[in-house]
Protein backbone atom coordinates (compact mmCIF):
# COMPACT_ATOMS: atom_id res chain seq x y z
CA UNK A 1 0.00 0.00 0.00
CA UNK A 2 1.41 3.47 -0.83
CA UNK A 3 2.77 5.46 2.11
CA UNK A 4 0.32 8.30 1.67
CA UNK A 5 -2.57 5.88 2.17
CA UNK A 6 -1.02 4.55 5.34
CA UNK A 7 -0.76 8.09 6.63
CA UNK A 8 -4.40 8.86 6.03
CA UNK A 9 -6.80 8.69 8.91
CA UNK A 10 -9.40 5.94 8.91
CA UNK A 11 -12.11 8.55 8.36
CA UNK A 12 -10.20 10.03 5.45
CA UNK A 13 -9.85 6.65 3.83
CA UNK A 14 -13.54 5.92 4.26
CA UNK A 15 -14.45 9.24 2.65
CA UNK A 16 -12.05 8.62 -0.21
CA UNK A 17 -13.46 5.15 -0.88
CA UNK A 18 -17.01 6.47 -0.67
CA UNK A 19 -16.09 9.07 -3.27
CA UNK A 20 -14.82 6.38 -5.58
CA UNK A 21 -18.07 4.48 -5.25
CA UNK A 22 -20.11 7.59 -5.99
CA UNK A 23 -18.02 8.26 -9.09
CA UNK A 24 -18.46 4.70 -10.18
CA UNK A 25 -22.22 4.84 -9.72
CA UNK A 26 -22.31 8.01 -11.79
CA UNK A 27 -20.37 6.35 -14.59
CA UNK A 28 -22.71 3.38 -14.71
CA UNK A 29 -25.75 5.60 -14.65
CA UNK A 30 -24.67 6.52 -18.16
CA UNK A 31 -23.45 3.07 -19.07
CA UNK A 32 -26.04 0.71 -17.73
CA UNK A 33 -24.84 -2.63 -19.10
CA UNK A 34 -25.03 -4.66 -15.97
CA UNK A 35 -27.69 -2.85 -14.04
CA UNK A 36 -29.06 -4.58 -11.02
CA UNK A 37 -26.03 -6.75 -10.32
CA UNK A 38 -24.22 -6.41 -7.02
CA UNK A 39 -20.81 -6.69 -8.63
CA UNK A 40 -21.70 -3.79 -10.85
CA UNK A 41 -21.93 -1.35 -7.99
CA UNK A 42 -18.48 -2.23 -6.67
CA UNK A 43 -16.62 -2.64 -9.96
CA UNK A 44 -13.51 -0.61 -10.53
CA UNK A 45 -13.96 2.14 -13.13
CA UNK A 46 -12.50 1.11 -16.49
CA UNK A 47 -10.26 4.16 -16.66
CA UNK A 48 -8.53 3.20 -13.42
CA UNK A 49 -7.10 0.02 -14.96
CA UNK A 50 -6.22 1.05 -18.51
CA UNK A 51 -3.65 -1.69 -19.05
CA UNK A 52 -5.57 -4.73 -17.85
CA UNK A 53 -7.04 -5.88 -21.13
CA UNK A 54 -3.91 -5.04 -23.11
CA UNK A 55 -1.96 -7.21 -20.69
CA UNK A 56 -4.44 -9.99 -21.32
CA UNK A 57 -3.92 -9.56 -25.06
CA UNK A 58 -0.18 -9.87 -24.56
CA UNK A 59 -0.73 -13.09 -22.61
CA UNK A 60 -2.79 -14.47 -25.45
CA UNK A 61 -0.04 -13.62 -27.94
CA UNK A 62 2.32 -15.92 -26.03
CA UNK A 63 0.18 -19.04 -26.31
CA UNK A 64 1.74 -22.05 -27.99
CA UNK A 65 0.06 -24.33 -30.53
CA UNK A 66 -2.05 -26.90 -28.71
CA UNK A 67 -2.48 -24.60 -25.70
CA UNK A 68 -5.80 -26.33 -24.90
CA UNK A 69 -4.00 -29.72 -24.78
CA UNK A 70 -5.82 -30.71 -27.95
CA UNK A 71 -4.88 -28.96 -31.18
CA UNK A 72 -5.96 -25.34 -30.78
CA UNK A 73 -4.02 -22.71 -32.68
CA UNK A 74 -2.96 -19.63 -30.70
CA UNK A 75 -4.40 -16.27 -31.75
CA UNK A 76 -2.43 -14.95 -34.72
CA UNK A 77 -0.93 -11.47 -34.96
CA UNK A 78 -3.67 -10.15 -37.25
CA UNK A 79 -6.65 -10.80 -34.90
CA UNK A 80 -4.54 -9.66 -31.96
CA UNK A 81 -3.80 -6.36 -33.66
CA UNK A 82 -7.45 -5.90 -34.60
CA UNK A 83 -8.52 -6.69 -31.04
CA UNK A 84 -6.16 -4.02 -29.76
CA UNK A 85 -7.90 -1.41 -31.90
CA UNK A 86 -11.26 -2.71 -30.74
CA UNK A 87 -10.11 -2.31 -27.13
CA UNK A 88 -9.19 1.29 -27.86
CA UNK A 89 -12.70 1.88 -29.20
CA UNK A 90 -14.16 0.31 -26.08
CA UNK A 91 -12.11 2.58 -23.89
CA UNK A 92 -13.19 5.56 -25.96
CA UNK A 93 -16.78 4.57 -25.14
CA UNK A 94 -15.95 3.83 -21.48
CA UNK A 95 -16.93 0.19 -21.96
CA UNK A 96 -15.17 -2.98 -21.04
CA UNK A 97 -15.85 -6.67 -21.61
CA UNK A 98 -16.64 -9.28 -19.01
CA UNK A 99 -14.02 -11.63 -20.45
CA UNK A 100 -11.34 -11.80 -23.11
CA UNK A 101 -10.28 -15.33 -23.99
CA UNK A 102 -8.49 -17.29 -26.65
CA UNK A 103 -10.81 -19.59 -28.54
CA UNK A 104 -10.11 -23.24 -29.27
CA UNK A 105 -11.16 -22.74 -32.89
CA UNK A 106 -8.35 -20.21 -33.43
CA UNK A 107 -8.64 -16.55 -32.52
CA UNK A 108 -9.95 -14.68 -29.52
CA UNK A 109 -13.27 -13.60 -28.12
CA UNK A 110 -14.71 -10.75 -26.10
CA UNK A 111 -17.85 -11.40 -24.06
CA UNK A 112 -20.18 -8.74 -22.71
CA UNK A 113 -23.01 -9.65 -20.36
CA UNK A 114 -26.12 -8.30 -18.74
CA UNK A 115 -27.96 -10.98 -16.82
CA UNK A 116 -28.67 -13.86 -19.20
CA UNK A 117 -27.93 -11.75 -22.24
CA UNK A 118 -24.58 -12.12 -23.88
CA UNK A 119 -22.82 -10.41 -26.75
CA UNK A 120 -19.84 -12.35 -27.99
CA UNK A 121 -17.32 -10.86 -30.42
CA UNK A 122 -14.94 -13.30 -32.09
CA UNK A 123 -11.80 -12.22 -33.95
CA UNK A 124 -10.80 -15.31 -35.89
CA UNK A 125 -7.45 -16.37 -37.23
CA UNK A 126 -9.20 -16.69 -40.59
CA UNK A 127 -9.47 -12.89 -40.62
CA UNK A 128 -13.20 -12.82 -39.90
CA UNK A 129 -14.99 -10.83 -37.23
CA UNK A 130 -18.33 -12.14 -35.98
CA UNK A 131 -20.76 -11.01 -33.30
CA UNK A 132 -23.17 -13.42 -31.64
CA UNK A 133 -26.10 -12.19 -29.57
CA UNK A 134 -27.74 -14.71 -27.27
CA UNK A 135 -29.98 -14.86 -24.23
CA UNK A 136 -29.45 -18.59 -23.76
CA UNK A 137 -33.08 -19.41 -24.57
CA UNK A 138 -34.25 -17.83 -27.81
CA UNK A 139 -32.55 -18.38 -31.17
CA UNK A 140 -29.20 -16.65 -31.35
CA UNK A 141 -28.14 -14.29 -34.11
CA UNK A 142 -24.76 -13.94 -35.75
CA UNK A 143 -23.54 -11.04 -37.85
CA UNK A 144 -20.29 -10.58 -39.73
CA UNK A 145 -18.41 -7.26 -39.57
CA UNK A 146 -15.52 -5.57 -41.27
CA UNK A 147 -12.51 -4.87 -39.11
CA UNK A 148 -12.31 -1.12 -39.00
CA UNK A 149 -13.11 1.60 -36.50
CA UNK A 150 -16.59 2.46 -37.87
CA UNK A 151 -17.50 -1.23 -37.64
CA UNK A 152 -16.18 -1.42 -34.08
CA UNK A 153 -18.28 1.59 -33.11
CA UNK A 154 -21.28 -0.05 -34.73
CA UNK A 155 -20.59 -3.23 -32.75
CA UNK A 156 -20.31 -1.33 -29.49
CA UNK A 157 -23.58 0.46 -30.19
CA UNK A 158 -25.29 -2.85 -31.03
CA UNK A 159 -23.99 -4.44 -27.84
CA UNK A 160 -25.31 -1.60 -25.74
CA UNK A 161 -28.70 -1.72 -27.44
CA UNK A 162 -29.00 -5.50 -27.07
CA UNK A 163 -27.81 -5.77 -23.50
CA UNK A 164 -29.97 -2.89 -22.30
CA UNK A 165 -33.11 -3.83 -24.21
CA UNK A 166 -36.25 -4.47 -22.23
CA UNK A 167 -36.04 -8.04 -20.91
CA UNK A 168 -39.77 -8.51 -20.57
Amino acid sequence: MPVFELQQSATGQRNRIAGLFRANAHRHAKCNWQSGSVTHSISVPARSRPKTWEVRLTELSLLAPGWDSYDADPPQSEPLAAAKVFLACLRESSKEPATLNPTVVGGLGFTFRNGDRKAYIEFRNTGSLLMLLSDGVNPSSVKRYLKDIPAYRDIISSIETYLNADHT
Binding site: W67, D68, N101, V104, G109, L132, S134, S140, V142
Partner: protein, 174 residues
Protein backbone atom coordinates in the same frame (compact mmCIF):
# COMPACT_ATOMS: atom_id res chain seq x y z
CA UNK B 1 1.51 -36.81 -11.84
CA UNK B 2 -1.12 -39.51 -11.33
CA UNK B 3 -0.74 -42.52 -13.55
CA UNK B 4 -3.40 -43.40 -16.08
CA UNK B 5 -5.92 -45.81 -14.56
CA UNK B 6 -5.31 -49.25 -15.99
CA UNK B 7 -8.98 -49.55 -16.96
CA UNK B 8 -8.53 -46.49 -19.18
CA UNK B 9 -6.13 -48.37 -21.44
CA UNK B 10 -7.39 -50.20 -24.50
CA UNK B 11 -5.67 -53.49 -23.64
CA UNK B 12 -6.71 -55.10 -26.90
CA UNK B 13 -10.35 -54.11 -26.74
CA UNK B 14 -12.10 -53.37 -30.02
CA UNK B 15 -14.01 -50.17 -30.70
CA UNK B 16 -17.69 -50.07 -29.80
CA UNK B 17 -19.70 -48.08 -32.36
CA UNK B 18 -22.93 -48.18 -30.36
CA UNK B 19 -23.74 -44.94 -28.52
CA UNK B 20 -26.86 -44.79 -26.40
CA UNK B 21 -28.91 -41.60 -26.49
CA UNK B 22 -28.32 -40.94 -22.81
CA UNK B 23 -24.59 -41.60 -22.87
CA UNK B 24 -22.48 -38.58 -21.89
CA UNK B 25 -19.39 -37.28 -23.66
CA UNK B 26 -16.68 -35.50 -21.64
CA UNK B 27 -14.12 -32.85 -22.44
CA UNK B 28 -11.56 -30.98 -20.34
CA UNK B 29 -11.42 -27.16 -20.38
CA UNK B 30 -8.22 -25.21 -19.59
CA UNK B 31 -8.29 -22.95 -16.56
CA UNK B 32 -7.02 -20.12 -18.75
CA UNK B 33 -10.45 -20.31 -20.42
CA UNK B 34 -12.66 -21.27 -17.50
CA UNK B 35 -11.55 -20.58 -13.97
CA UNK B 36 -14.65 -19.29 -12.25
CA UNK B 37 -17.91 -20.47 -10.79
CA UNK B 38 -19.66 -19.33 -13.95
CA UNK B 39 -20.65 -21.49 -16.87
CA UNK B 40 -17.92 -22.54 -19.30
CA UNK B 41 -17.45 -20.02 -22.12
CA UNK B 42 -18.23 -20.47 -25.78
CA UNK B 43 -14.51 -20.17 -26.52
CA UNK B 44 -14.18 -23.71 -25.11
CA UNK B 45 -16.54 -25.29 -27.63
CA UNK B 46 -14.65 -26.80 -30.55
CA UNK B 47 -15.76 -27.94 -33.98
CA UNK B 48 -15.23 -30.05 -36.02
CA UNK B 49 -13.92 -33.44 -34.89
CA UNK B 50 -14.26 -32.82 -31.19
CA UNK B 51 -12.17 -35.14 -29.03
CA UNK B 52 -14.09 -36.39 -26.02
CA UNK B 53 -14.31 -39.26 -23.58
CA UNK B 54 -17.42 -41.42 -23.30
CA UNK B 55 -19.31 -42.39 -20.17
CA UNK B 56 -19.81 -46.00 -21.21
CA UNK B 57 -16.12 -46.69 -20.74
CA UNK B 58 -14.75 -43.79 -18.73
CA UNK B 59 -15.32 -41.36 -15.89
CA UNK B 60 -15.35 -37.57 -16.21
CA UNK B 61 -12.11 -37.19 -14.22
CA UNK B 62 -10.29 -39.48 -16.64
CA UNK B 63 -10.33 -36.79 -19.33
CA UNK B 64 -8.06 -34.73 -17.09
CA UNK B 65 -5.43 -37.17 -18.37
CA UNK B 66 -3.94 -36.20 -21.71
CA UNK B 67 -3.09 -39.74 -22.72
CA UNK B 68 -1.48 -38.63 -25.98
CA UNK B 69 1.07 -36.31 -24.39
CA UNK B 70 1.37 -37.98 -21.00
CA UNK B 71 0.10 -35.00 -19.02
CA UNK B 72 -2.48 -34.55 -16.29
CA UNK B 73 -4.48 -31.39 -15.68
CA UNK B 74 -5.75 -31.74 -12.14
CA UNK B 75 -7.24 -28.24 -11.98
CA UNK B 76 -9.05 -28.14 -15.30
CA UNK B 77 -12.81 -28.28 -15.39
CA UNK B 78 -14.67 -31.04 -17.21
CA UNK B 79 -17.86 -30.50 -19.16
CA UNK B 80 -20.22 -33.05 -20.63
CA UNK B 81 -22.94 -33.30 -23.22
CA UNK B 82 -25.48 -36.08 -23.56
CA UNK B 83 -25.45 -37.71 -27.00
CA UNK B 84 -29.11 -36.92 -27.67
CA UNK B 85 -28.51 -33.25 -26.78
CA UNK B 86 -25.90 -32.67 -29.48
CA UNK B 87 -27.49 -30.21 -31.92
CA UNK B 88 -28.06 -32.77 -34.67
CA UNK B 89 -29.07 -32.26 -37.39
CA UNK B 90 -28.29 -28.57 -37.41
CA UNK B 91 -29.77 -26.45 -40.17
CA UNK B 92 -29.10 -22.86 -41.12
CA UNK B 93 -29.71 -20.96 -44.36
CA UNK B 94 -30.61 -24.08 -46.29
CA UNK B 95 -27.60 -26.08 -45.14
CA UNK B 96 -28.13 -29.09 -42.85
CA UNK B 97 -25.22 -30.62 -41.01
CA UNK B 98 -25.26 -33.98 -39.30
CA UNK B 99 -23.14 -35.14 -36.42
CA UNK B 100 -22.03 -38.57 -35.45
CA UNK B 101 -20.17 -40.02 -32.46
CA UNK B 102 -17.27 -42.21 -33.52
CA UNK B 103 -15.48 -44.35 -30.97
CA UNK B 104 -11.77 -43.93 -31.65
CA UNK B 105 -9.86 -45.85 -28.95
CA UNK B 106 -6.23 -44.91 -28.29
CA UNK B 107 -3.74 -47.22 -26.66
CA UNK B 108 -3.87 -45.31 -23.36
CA UNK B 109 -7.36 -43.90 -23.79
CA UNK B 110 -9.95 -46.50 -24.65
CA UNK B 111 -12.95 -44.16 -24.07
CA UNK B 112 -11.60 -41.66 -26.62
CA UNK B 113 -14.31 -40.62 -29.06
CA UNK B 114 -14.76 -37.98 -31.72
CA UNK B 115 -17.88 -36.00 -32.51
CA UNK B 116 -17.65 -35.69 -36.27
CA UNK B 117 -19.51 -33.39 -38.64
CA UNK B 118 -20.99 -34.42 -41.98
CA UNK B 119 -22.58 -32.59 -44.89
CA UNK B 120 -24.53 -34.89 -47.20
CA UNK B 121 -22.58 -37.84 -45.90
CA UNK B 122 -19.21 -36.17 -46.47
CA UNK B 123 -17.02 -35.89 -43.38
CA UNK B 124 -16.05 -32.25 -42.79
CA UNK B 125 -12.90 -32.18 -40.72
CA UNK B 126 -11.90 -28.60 -41.48
CA UNK B 127 -13.36 -25.25 -40.56
CA UNK B 128 -13.60 -24.17 -44.18
CA UNK B 129 -16.24 -26.81 -44.79
CA UNK B 130 -19.05 -24.62 -43.44
CA UNK B 131 -19.85 -20.94 -43.04
CA UNK B 132 -18.35 -19.30 -40.00
CA UNK B 133 -21.76 -17.95 -39.01
CA UNK B 134 -23.20 -21.46 -38.91
CA UNK B 135 -20.13 -22.70 -37.10
CA UNK B 136 -20.60 -20.14 -34.34
CA UNK B 137 -24.33 -20.79 -34.08
CA UNK B 138 -23.73 -24.52 -33.63
CA UNK B 139 -21.16 -23.89 -30.90
CA UNK B 140 -23.64 -21.66 -29.05
CA UNK B 141 -26.36 -24.30 -29.41
CA UNK B 142 -24.01 -26.98 -28.08
CA UNK B 143 -22.96 -24.74 -25.19
CA UNK B 144 -26.57 -24.51 -24.07
CA UNK B 145 -26.65 -28.28 -23.68
CA UNK B 146 -23.38 -28.59 -21.81
CA UNK B 147 -23.38 -29.77 -18.21
CA UNK B 148 -20.67 -29.04 -15.70
CA UNK B 149 -19.24 -32.29 -14.35
CA UNK B 150 -16.07 -31.05 -12.66
CA UNK B 151 -15.57 -27.40 -11.89
CA UNK B 152 -12.16 -25.80 -12.34
CA UNK B 153 -9.94 -26.69 -9.37
CA UNK B 154 -12.49 -29.18 -8.06
CA UNK B 155 -10.56 -31.98 -6.42
CA UNK B 156 -11.36 -35.51 -7.42
CA UNK B 157 -9.60 -38.84 -7.17
CA UNK B 158 -9.35 -41.08 -10.21
CA UNK B 159 -11.57 -44.13 -10.10
CA UNK B 160 -9.59 -47.18 -11.12
CA UNK B 161 -12.40 -49.37 -12.40
CA UNK B 162 -14.52 -48.99 -15.52
CA UNK B 163 -17.96 -47.44 -15.02
CA UNK B 164 -20.74 -49.85 -14.08
CA UNK B 165 -23.16 -47.95 -16.30
CA UNK B 166 -23.06 -45.35 -19.05
CA UNK B 167 -25.05 -43.07 -16.74
CA UNK B 168 -22.63 -40.69 -15.08
CA UNK B 169 -22.22 -41.54 -11.41
CA UNK B 170 -21.56 -39.08 -8.62
CA UNK B 171 -18.03 -37.70 -8.62
CA UNK B 172 -16.01 -39.13 -5.70
CA UNK B 173 -14.72 -36.50 -3.32
CA UNK B 174 -11.11 -36.45 -2.21
Amino acid sequence: MPTIPSAMKSAGRFCDPLFLADETLFRRVPTRLWDTADKPPIEAIDLPDISVGRSKYGHPEWVRHDAVNGKHFDKWGVIGIVVSAIPNPFANNGVALEFSCVHDPLENDYPHTEIRMFDGGEHLDRLDGISEEMHLLWRESALREVRILLRPRQKCRDREECPLSHIVAEIPQV
